[in-house]
Structures are given as structure tokens and as C-alpha cells.
Amino acid sequence: MQTVKMVITGPYSSGKTEFIRSISEIDVVSTEREVTTEAERREKGATTVAMDFGRITVDDDLVLYLFGTPGQRRFDFMWEILAEGMLGFIVMVDSSKPETFREAKSILETFRAYAPTPYVVAANKQDHPEAWSPDDLRIALRIDPEVKLLPCVARDRSSVRDVLLELLYAILEEMEE
């Protein structure tokens, strides 16, 4: 059986766990634990510590694994291990939180340095009233025009599917070259 792997990364609370949860056929094997600091608690109840793990089975001999990285820098020792052998990666950005854009860009650069695989950027939480549009995010994060920057609502399964599809198309395009 062949397994392939994609990595979902991005800053703290950008929606990585939600993204995997929306599409995985198994309950996400999450290594979440309650957040520890006061500020984080106000934001949400649980944070990913080691990784999230989701699965999509194609058939008897092909399985796609989705790995979500922990968003907090204090767990970034896990990143390089998760990046090993990935087919591509997705950078999730919380479009409603400009204070996280700089961090998102820095995570993107870090992952790009791990491996020269294709990637896409997901402008998540587009349902949020304060979300920046994908076009504005492209300028704010200085994403090259050839890199796909996609609108996303991680809670919505079809939106998640579309982002994964776009990454797969990017991988195909890369193979063509």
C-alpha cells in the first residue's frame, strides 16, 4: 500500500485542526491539550501540541494522510519531522487577524526551506466579518503571483476539499515542468 502525506501548517489558532477535522474520514487523532495561558484560553479551549492526524482512503492501495502542525512556536521542534517526505503543504492564515500575518509568512518561509515541494496558502475564516480578502492577503503577506492563495472556510467541507484539490493541481503542474 502506498501512503502520501500533506502537511497543514500556519500560526496558532489559524484553523489547522478544524481543516483536517472537516475532511478526514477518521476522527482526527489530535494531540490537543488545554491551553495554558490566560490569553490563549480566551482565544480557544485547546491547542495542538504534537500534531493532528487525519486520513483519506482512496482505495486498498492508496491512502492520503493529513498532518497538522502545532501552531505555537514552542512546539516547532515537531515541524521538520512532520515535513519529512511531504508531497506538499498548506499554510493556513486566519484572515481576520492581521497580527498573525507576519508569523504566517515566517512559517511559510521555514517550510519552504525544509523541502522544495509545492504549496498553497489558504485565507481561512473567510466567513468572519473582519476577514481580509485573499487579494489583500497576497499583498500583505507578499505572496508571489505564481503561488495559489485560496479563500477558505475550514468548517466547510467543500471549501476544504477545494483547497486540497488546488494543492494537488499545483503538484501536477510541477510534475509537468
Partner: protein
């Protein structure tokens, strides 16, 4: 969609760059920052918008107007500040011209040979720029940019100003190096020209120092090397590169000659080797999911 946030995270310079690149029309409002007592995603103090401090108007990516709370901002104030009306004249005029809009007043003043058209344009420009340069020095105010507004609604004299020059001049005046260092944090990166340099450089006024940097722009020269060649300090080069980059005149890139640093342990992740057919099967599977 409105663009909102805090200047701490997204500076006025970056906003001007965004509005310039996307050719936006609308109004940028900047507010007093009122701490909520909460923390944001970065663990910084969360700040709520309070009273409005300034308003900046744009049309098709050009700066056209700015006003500042605590100033009168009408044509009389503008001409007074620009030295075209004395305090006494301004006072008399304000009494007499009560209720007259800026545009009508401008016509009357020109008709009465008080001022000419160029004086008015120059004074408005100077007034607007002064406000914008001062806003560029703010760094903790909440902001909000809205597009669905009729910027011609109020009776204001709008004078279009290219944002590239404003961004460069603003960077020259920036006293705080903090924002610049945050942005240009790696001097071992290189510079390259944008896609359509001719268009971008048209009408831009560069200083000698800026030209000295521009002549070394090449994806093979690191920022550090350019500084050395020009005998500039790190702070000098940071400030210049910041201005040029924010104005869209250069882009920061990784050097093209040196390979990206490979981790010493060669732990660098190798991409998985898969066949097209595998990717196609994944695509089909995902397409089948509702």
C-alpha cells in the same frame, strides 16, 4: 470587505503600499487606541478603536485628501497653514464666508485675485502630506479602510498625489527604526526589480543615496554587500531598502547564486517521489467527496 487592524501589526506604510498596488478608492480612518485589558493572538495588549484621529482619502490608488482631528481642515485653514492667508485674514474670511463650501470659496478667492489655482493645489498638497507623514509615524492605532463610500460627497478639494513618492518620503522621515528592522530583518537577502520597472519608476523622485542603492539591485548582490559597496551603515541601508521596497520599486529575494542553506545534518526533508497517476487518483477521490 473592509481592511482593518492595528498599525502595530500592519503599518501605515504597508497600508499605503497595499492601496497603491490594488488601485483602491476609499477612506482610511485611524482611531485613538483604547486598551481593552485583553490580550491578542500575539500576547500583546488588545486595542479597540476610540475617537477618530485622522482620515485619509484615496482614489484609484492615489492619495487625494487627508484631515486630522483637532484641526479645522477647511480651505481657510489650509491656506493659512500654507502661508497664503495671515491669521487676521483667515479670521475675517471665516466670518464672511460662513456656509461657503471649499470649492466655491476657492473660486471666489481666485476671482478676487487673492490666490491662484496653483497656490491652492500646492497648499492642499502640503497640508495633506503633512498629515499623512505624521500618521506614518504612529504605531499602535486601530485603523479601518472602507471602499463603499462616496469620497466626493463632502465638498472637499481633492488633489491626486502618487503614493510611491509619499511612501519613500515617509520612510526618509521615519524616526523609529523599530518597524524598519522588523521588516528588513535579514541583510543577507538580495534585491530585484519588480516586473514592470519602467512603469513603477516613472515620476518617482529618488535621492542620490537611493540611486546609489538602486544601481546595485541584482539578485546576486545581498543587501549587506550593497551597503558595503556604498559605505553605508546597516541602519542607512535598512531605511533606504525599506522605502524602496514599500514603494514597490524593488523586491526582496533570496540570492540566486548561493543554494538555499542545507541543514548541516542533511535532515532536509526530501520530497516524496510519486507518479502522476497517484496524484490523479487523489484528485478523483477528492472530487467524489461531497
Amino acid at each position: 470587505m473592509p481592511i482593518q487592524g492595528n498599525l502595530r501589526d500592519f503599518s501605515t506604510t504597508q497600508l499605503l503600499n497595499l492601496i497603491n498596488l490594488s488601485g483602491r478608492t476609499g477612506v482610511l480612518r485611524i482611531f485613538e487606541g483604547v486598551p481593552t485589558g485583553d490580550k491578542d493572538a500575539n500576547g500583546n495588549e488588545k486595542i479597540q478603536p476610540g475617537k477618530e484621529r485622522a482620515q485619509v482619502l484615496f482614489r484609484a490608488g492615489k492619495l487625494v485628501y487627508a484631515s486630522s482631528a483637532g484641526q479645522l481642515n477647511d480651505l481657510i485653514a489650509v491656506l493659512n497653514k500654507g502661508g497664503k492667508l495671515s491669521e487676521a485674514q483667515a479670521k475675517v474670511l471665516r466670518e464672511r464666508a460662513k456656509g461657503t463650501g471649499d470649492k466655491a470659496l476657492a473660486m471666489r478667492l481666485i476671482g478676487a485675485n487673492y490666490v491662484n489655482r496653483n497656490d491652492i493645489v500646492a497648499c492642499v498638497q502640503q497640508y495633506v502630506l503633512e498629515i499623512v507623514y505624521s500618521v506614518m509615524g504612529w504605531n499602535r492605532e486601530p485603523f479601518r479602510f472602507e471602499e463603499n463610500v462616496n469620497i466626493d460627497a463632502a465638498d472637499r478639494i481633492l488633489v491626486p498625489i502618487d503614493l510611491q513618492n509619499v511612501i519613500i518620503e515617509g520612510a526618509r522621515r521615519l524616526e523609529k527604526l523599530e518597524e524598519i528592522s522588523k521588516h528588513i530583518d535579514n541583510l543577507d537577502l538580495c534585491l530585484r526589480f519588480p516586473e514592470n520597472p519602467k512603469e513603477k519608476y516613472a515620476g518617482v523622485h529618488l535621492s542620490v543615496e537611493e540611486w546609489r542603492v538602486v544601481q546595485f539591485v541584482n539578485p546576486k548582490n545581498t543587501i549587506r554587500q550593497i551597503a558595503k559597496a556604498n559605505n553605508m551603515t546597516e541602519n542607512d541601508i535598512r531605511r533606504i531598502v525599506y522605502g524602496l521596497e514599500q514603494a514597490g520599486l524593488v523586491e526582496i529575494v533570496r540570492p540566486t547564486t548561493t543554494k538555499p542553506p542545507v541543514a548541516a545534518s542533511s535532515k532536509r526533508a526530501q520530497p516524496q517521489v510519486v507518479q502522476r497517476q497517484v496524484v490523479n487518483r487523489l484528485i478523483d477521490k477528492l472530487k467524489s467527496l461531497s
